[in-house]
């Protein structure tokens, strides 16, 4: 059977058709994050036949991800592969016709602007924090690229496509960021809530990528798959003329802030991330660790060790994850003690 047949069930869907399928094949989607939402959206778009997909993630596959992150297997967790790398492996087995780029790292303002310059047709939010969403939102407004917001926690989630010049932007929608935010770290998350959020995100992305913007849902979907709640919230006058991201005197504040703090507590994990101002040489590191007598486990992308009961993961780009703490000072101290 030919690869033409491959998309037959999608081209028979009249609103897409052969024309929409061809449009999709010409498009480039950026997915920010390869956690639960990133896995689901990436798989749906790759199976659907998007032309090109870039996926960026800073984390590696952990056993606690397997409960809901559909691109990963036990072997990926055993090997501690970076999520972007493991995701690309599986996505390539699913559809070798799609050009897939996987980036291990964090999305900074500089990077997102560079992607937008290259030409991105849709950005999909699969992040786990509001700061990165504000970055996506500002880049989206500056380059007039739509993005699809999605988030979920517990059995509850929400999603909306944000189209510059047409819908309110994310900052209009959420002028006050929560001081304390629910994450899968504190209240957990179940697979069906992820699947529903992904369904809503991918549906809107597919409309945008097949040239059917007129079908995009002009409302915020909110739902709770356990409590059996469901609502589409219309936008009303929510668009703010004074909005700093999409208003008349816009300044794109998220793009101008210093890109990420040097250290941060990671969402959904009892973990601190340090950013070293230099990249890491794993050979040197291995030498150093041998002298101190610490076991060091490595794969081509990262190195892991155990220090005073804390798992420590070092990435080549200079990021260091210290697990088992939410105390940035404690994490810094531990790092200093062993690596100077």
């Amino acid at each position: 059977m030919s690869s033409h047949e491959r998309y037959s069930r999608q081209t028979r869907f009249a609103p897409i058709g052969e024309q929409g399928q061809e449009a999709l094949r010409q498009k480039h989607a950026l997915i920010v994050g390869a956690g639960a939402l990133g896995c689901g959206n990436a798989e749906l778009l790759v199976r659907a036949g998007v032309g090109r997909l870039t996926i960026i993630d800073r984390d590696y596959v952990d056993w606690s991800n397997l409960q809901r992150q559909q691109l990963y297997t036990e072997q990926d967790a055993e090997r501690g592969l970076p999520k972007a790398v493991a995701a690309k492996q599986r996505l390539s087995q699913i559809n070798s016709e799609v050009q897939i780029e996987a980036i291990v790292g964090e999305l900074s303002a500089k990077e997102i602007l560079a992607y937008c310059e290259q030409g991105i047709d849709v950005m999909i939010d699969a992040t786990d924090n509001f700061e990165t969403r504000l970055l996506l939102n500002d880049a989206s407004q500056q380059y007039s690229i739509p993005w699809v917001f999605g988030s979920c926690t517990g059995s509850y989630g929400m999603s909306m496509a944000i189209i510059p010049g047409k819908t309110p932007c994310f900052r209009c929608l959420l002028p006050h960021l929560p001081a304390y935010s629910l994450t899968c770290d504190n209240v957990g998350v179940i697979g069906p809530a992820v699947a529903m959020t992904v369904s809503y995100q991918a549906a809107e992305a597919l409309k945008l990528l097949t040239g059917r913007e007129e079908a995009v849902r002009p409302s915020l979907a909110i739902f709770d798959v356990w409590a059996n709640d469901h609502m589409f919230l219309r936008m009303g006058k929510k668009k703010q003329a004074a909005c700093l991201s999409c208003g008349e005197a816009r300044t794109y504040p998220a793009l101008n802030e210093e890109t990420g703090s040097k250290a941060a507590v990671l969402c959904g994990r009892d973990t601190v991330q340090l950013r070293l101002p230099y990249s890491l040489d794993f050979e040197q590191l291995a030498e150093h660790m041998k002298r101190t007598g610490q076991p060091l486990q490595r794969n081509p992308y990262l190195a892991m060790t155990e220090l005073e009961g804390h798992r420590v993961v070092l990435f080549q780009d200079g990021r260091v994850l210290i697990h088992g703490t939410k105390d940035i000072q404690e994490a810094r101290t531990l790092y200093q003690r062993y690596f100077g």
Binding site: L37, S151, G154, Y156, L174, L177, I222, L233, C267
Partner: protein, 76 residues
């Protein structure tokens, strides 16, 4: 009477999936004050919709309307 539907963890916070307010008329920001004072909801980031439409802070809610309190979540 104004019905207030609550979502996600607010259900546990309030111990029920909906509140009923006896007010005849109040603005969205007045509602926030009532929720803060009588229900200990201090969170300014909770989004408020009236009759399934997002509401501005000065919008007037009237008896018979249905309000929804939507806490944003960051997980992904």
């Amino acid at each position: 009477m104004i019905t207030v539907l609550v979502f996600a963890h607010l259900k546990e916070k309030f111990g029920q999936p909906r509140l009923v307010l006896e007010e005849q008329e109040l603005t969205v920001s007045q509602l926030r004050r009532v929720l803060a004072e009588q229900y200990d909801l201090q969170d300014n980031s909770v989004m408020i919709a009236v009759n399934e439409e997002f509401a501005e802070e000065d919008e007037v809610i009237r008896a018979g309307d249905t309000v929804a309190l939507i806490p944003p979540v960051s997980g992904g």
